[in-house]
């Protein structure tokens, strides 16, 4: 549906595009802590990456070592439990829990990250939502010789759901974030992905997670940045909304301010087909 918005923007840009020129990049560096973590049933481990942003001119990224990480849960009776605080550093600011964790649907999970300098960051309590299974995958011809793949599933009727769909077409990865606003409760709900393999069979590997709103919003922001920041000039940039930071559900405990990153808890369903 995004094409609806792009059409008038393209028309406007016919008037404007000659007025774009490259200008020097300014160094306005402000260091930010970024924490991205996940607890998924398919890996059974909690994985967290802690980094500090770097200047636009840096060529290396800055993973933060020696952080202490804890995973907590709250069960149906409201009891809070420390699941584990045993994590192994894997370099470049990446950490993985030493023991496997089996998350329970309906329970809440969160992490706490303590840095060497004493700063503490926590994710908000995040509910593990029930698994939503991909029932089938279909394909048909789209515009411009493209192929439209539909990933069909049954959307739970009782609440608003948000999905992250990661698809590998051969070795070509695509990530989609979708909400069920349009198809809420539809037993044959589908998420459509465009690619270019109509005349050939390709191995399609799809993983779908039923995530929480903050994870969905984080991925929306991530994908939005990915589309606008990477690649050539696009007409949409002329009328772009304010630039969006990758904010999710991580909060610095002392200042009570949101910082960059997200902690995701989700069940993953997987479907692999030759199509």
């Amino acid at each position: 549906m995004k094409q609806l918005k792009i059409i008038p923007l393209i028309l406007a840009c016919m008037l404007f595009t000659q007025c774009v020129k490259e200008i020097p990049v300014e160094d306005n560096f402000e260091a930010e802590i970024v924490i991205v973590g996940q607890l998924l049933n398919d890996t059974n481990h909690c994985e967290v990456r802690v980094q500090e942003s770097v200047s636009l001119f840096n060529t290396e990224f800055n993973g933060i070592e020696s952080a202490s990480i804890s995973v907590y849960s709250e069960n149906a009776t409201g009891e809070n439990l420390l699941i584990t605080n045993a994590f192994t550093e894997q370099g470049n600011g990446s950490y993985s829990s030493n023991l496997p964790i089996d998350p329970v649907s309906g329970d809440y999970y969160w992490i706490e990250v303590l840095l060497e300098d004493g700063r503490v960051f926590m994710s908000e309590k995040t509910k593990l939502k029930p698994v939503v299974t991909i029932n089938s995958i279909t394909k048909r011809l789209g515009f411009d010789d493209s192929t439209l793949y539909n990933f069909i599933f049954s959307d739970p009727v009782d609440e608003n759901n948000f999905y992250i769909l990661r698809v590998l077409f051969g070795e070509d990865p695509i990530t989609i974030a979708a909400s069920d606003v349009v198809f809420n409760g539809n037993e044959t709900a589908s998420i459509e992905v465009e690619n270019y393999y109509y005349n050939q069979t390709v191995l399609v590997k799809a993983k779908m997670q039923n995530v929480n709103y903050f994870t969905y919003q984080y991925y929306i922001n991530l994908l939005s940045q990915s589309n606008t920041n990477n690649g050539d000039f696009s007409p949409e940039l002329l009328f772009a909304p304010p630039s969006v930071n990758l904010l999710g559900n991580i909060v610095e405990k002392h200042t009570n301010r949101r910082v960059l990153g997200v902690f995701t808890v989700a069940y993953t369903s997987e479907k692999i087909v030759n199509l």
Partner: protein
């Protein structure tokens, strides 16, 4: 009594009296009537009727009507209006009299695109209300023009305290207010979009306009519904004396206005149209044009009744067509795809003026206003074309129905009251998509409906040195069904994640009610006959807001009514002003200061998704804000060199107040609004070289508008992403521009009615590429930064204007 002038004589004709003199006040008499242009019969707004040698008098109202109570001894009055010869009348005051006065233009020569001939006087001494600007079509034509086309929006942008987000953006910002906070009225009908071609031109044809008044400071109680300013535009009534026309042929578009009597001195018409033709320079498959039509009918039914019917229709159309031969099943088919984007404004007003007595004037108006846009695509055949879109039609509509009554009672020359009631029905249909394609569903979001009832009262009084204009407006607003209102889990944020269902409301059932009093108060104190001090305050409620979080407003931004989740915007403004005229009014100086607060203004969540968003409230957060500033202006009125210079210092900031604190922007700290531009300077000069030639120069400078910049980068799964500064923590470079014009008025054959003039010059003389926005991308392992300028060079223009 009616008065007309010949070349050297004054003719007074006695009319029958309307009322007998009041026996309780034998020595007091009332004169009343209309003041109009002698040549055209066009009524004059704001013409002064003053008792000679005494500091008392009145000005004609927006329908040219005046009423003045006089003592028997006060038998000499003076009538004056800018650009017209002042006249003096000696009256035989024995009964109340109806006197229609006709004023003769001071300069009967061709007056269009005349940069320096007209006698200007921008004195702020008389107006009790601080921060008002009054203009007529001559002022507009003498002001900076884009491609030589006189334009109201550009003239507004040359006023102190008025800014925009950049070249070619839609609308304007007044004293820290959003563009949706301006009440733009065309013959009392509100307009939702005032721009053609994405903001390059205003939708008003200057030739059809009689009078424009911008209230950016204090706002009288008769106006309401928008929080920051009122732009009150009145169309000409059309000449009731003789048939005439005027127009212009420009590089981008042409315009033509015809007017004349239907029955001389009784009824008249005006019809005015414009059509652009710049699409002829584009590929034949690309269609880009605009057109508008204004029409008005005026009928003086009798001495006590007058009827007006007016309408406006304007449309912008952009589209492209793809044609292609497609091979299918061994057969070659010719396939055509057409995509069209169109937005239109339509208004219709019927107004009835009635005189209950020579002291009581009434106007009743019935008004309809509509703004809609359409995006459609049509494919012939079943085959999708390269770059073509799916077949669909997407529409959005905002409609108003208004019924209002306004009464004015002229109690005595120093006291006047106005009162009335304004009733508005709103219906906004945000999105409807009809689709034939399987991958695009049919969508029909619920319409928003509301009713607003607003009675008001104004009291205008002057004493020896003190003048008062005060009033009170009461706004009662109800958001009504039929509507399905989304419900959110209590205690949590209003977000898509907390939707728990919806509640259905029946047709006309009240969903949410808001009401409030809006006090208005303006004082003027005359320090001397050339120096005044002013003070004012007002409160305004606004029940409809434009939903847009892009750098520039777009035609497909939607309007949203207040509802249980979106409270009405409340603005309080305090202002103080000082005005000074030099001897003979050669120079007018004014200084105005203001402080303004905003409550429940709309802001947008980080990463808000507004496009095709049914639950738009889930993407919004309430905010408060403030704006303050000082505006200095000086006008030079005499001599061959005339012009104005103004400087504005202002700040406008916002602070989000989300219930769920993590939704707050910049963690709930204050941040500059998108149009916070602290320093603005505008210089307009006109120099008359001789009777035929004149030159004009316009210069503007503004602090660059705020923006959010990347401040670093990070890695997510091997892909580079940016971190960004706080909202609007940086600014684009300061913007400035100079325009130059030359005007030639051919004296022509004095025996023919046809008068022509030429206007040519350069827009953006030194080709300044003002930054509209910046964007940063990551490409080939390198960060690259780009600047976008709407105008990329100097633009020459030439326009031929004519009048007959």
């Amino acid at each position: 009594m009616s008065i007309t002038f010949t070349s050297n004589a004054l003719i007074l004709k006695k009319n029958r009296s309307i009322d007998s003199p009041n026996k309780q006040q034998e020595n007091r008499f009332v004169i009343s009537g209309t003041i109009s242009d002698k040549a055209t019969g066009e009524t004059l707004i704001g013409a002064a009727v003053i008792v000679k040698t005494k500091n008392k008098g009145v000005v004609s109202n927006e329908y040219g009507f005046y009423s003045l109570e006089l003592l028997e001894s006060e038998n000499t009055i003076e009538i004056s209006y800018l650009g017209y010869k002042t006249i003096e009348l000696s009256l035989d005051l024995t009964v109340d009299q109806s006197i229609n006065i006709e004023l003769e233009p001071e300069n009967n020569n061709l007056d269009e695109v005349v940069i320096s001939i007209q006698k200007q006087n921008k004195s702020q001494l008389k107006s009790v209300i601080a921060g008002t600007t009054t203009l007529n079509s001559k002022d507009i034509k003498a002001s900076p023009a884009f491609f030589g086309e006189p334009d109201i929006t550009r003239v507004m942008l040359a006023q102190a305290g008025v800014s925009s987000n950049g070249e070619g953006t839609s609308g304007f910002n007044v004293r820290g207010g959003n563009i949706d906070q301006n009440l733009i009225l065309l013959d009392e009908a509100p307009l939702y979009n005032s721009s053609h071609v994405w903001g390059f031109f205003s939708i008003f044809n200057v030739d059809a306009i009689k009078d424009i008044k911008l209230y950016k400071g204090d706002i009288p109680a008769r106006f309401g519904g928008r929080a920051s300013s009122v732009l009150d535009i009145r169309l000409k009534e059309g000449s009731s004396k003789k048939f005439k026309g005027e127009g212009g042929i420009g590089v981008l578009f042409s315009r033509l206005t015809l007017e004349g009597p239907i029955k001389k001195d009784t009824s008249s018409f005006l019809i005015s149209a414009r059509r652009s033709y710049f699409d002829i320079f584009l590929d034949k498959n690309i269609k880009v044009y605009f057109q508008d039509l204004s029409a008005k009918f005026s009928w003086q039914i009798n001495q006590k009744n007058k009827l007006f019917a007016s309408g406006y229709f304007g449309a912008d159309v952009m589209g492209f067509t793809f044609k292609q031969d497609v091979a299918e099943d061994g057969e070659v088919k010719f396939i055509k795809s057409e995509t069209k984007f169109k937005w239109t404004n339509s208004t219709a007003s019927i107004r009835w003026n009635h005189l209950f007595s020579n002291k009581t004037f009434m106007n009743i108006s019935a008004i309809y206003s509509r703004y809609d846009y359409l995006l459609s695509s049509e494919n012939t055949g079943d085959v999708f074309l390269e770059n073509a879109a799916t077949s669909f039609e997407w529409t959005s509509v905002a409609e108003n129905w208004i019924l209002k009554a306004d009464l004015t009672k002229f109690i005595n020359p120093k006291t006047k009251i106005r009162f009335g009631i304004n009733n508005t029905v709103y219906k906004f249909s945000p999105t409807k998509i009809k689709s034939n394609a399987t991958d695009l569903p049919n969508i029909n979001f619920d319409s928003d409906r509301a009713l607003e009832i607003a009675p008001y009262f104004e009291f205008i009084k002057s004493w020896e040195k003190l003048s008062l204009n005060t009033g009170l407006r009461y706004s009662l607003y109800a958001n009504i069904g039929a509507h399905n209102l989304t419900q959110y889990a209590s205690g949590g944020p209003v977000s898509p994640a907390t939707i728990i269902g919806s509640t259905s409301y029946k047709k006309n059932e009240i969903i949410k009610r808001y009401d409030g009093f809006e006090p208005r108060l303006s004082f003027k104190y005359d320090l001397s006959d050339r120096k005044v001090l002013k003070f004012g305050m007002h409160r305004m409620y606004q029940f409809t807001q434009l939903i847009s979080n892009t750098a520039a407003s777009l035609p497909f931004d939607i309007w949203k009514l207040s509802d249980p989740y979106i409270k009405p915007l409340k603005v309080n403004q305090f202002s103080i002003g000082y005005a000074y005229d030099t001897e003979n009014r050669a120079y007018n100086f004014s200084a105005d200061g203001y402080y303004k607060t905003f409550k429940d203004i709309i802001e947008y969540k980080n990463g808000a998704e507004l496009f095709l968003q049914e639950n738009i409230e889930s993407q919004l957060i309430p905010a408060k804000g403030f704006a303050y500033g000082i505006e200095l202006a000086i006008h030079k009125n005499n001599g061959p060199l005339k012009g104005s210079l103004n400087y504005t210092f202002s700040r406008a900031k916002r602070k989000t107040e989300a219930k769920y604190v993590f939704d707050n922007i910049n963690n709930g700290d204050y941040f500059p609004s998108n149009f916070d531009r602290p320093h603005m300077v505008n210089l307009t000069t006109n120099y008359k070289l001789n009777k035929k030639w004149g030159v004009g120069l316009f210069f503007t400078y503004q602090t660059g508008r705020p923006l959010t910049r990347p401040t670093g980068k990070l890695d997510v799964n091997g892909e580079t992403f940016f971190t960004f500064s706080d909202r609007n923590a940086y600014r684009v470079p300061d913007t400035h521009r100079m325009d130059f014009s030359v005007n030639y008025n051919a004296t022509g054959n004095p025996d023919t009615a046809w008068k022509g003039s030429w206007s040519f010059g350069l827009y953006n003389v030194y080709g300044r590429k003002n930054t509209f926005s910046e964007f940063t991308i990551y490409e080939d392992n390198k960060v690259r930064n780009f600047q976008f300028s709407v105008l990329g060079g100097a633009y020459p223009f030439i326009t031929y204007n004519f009048k007959f």
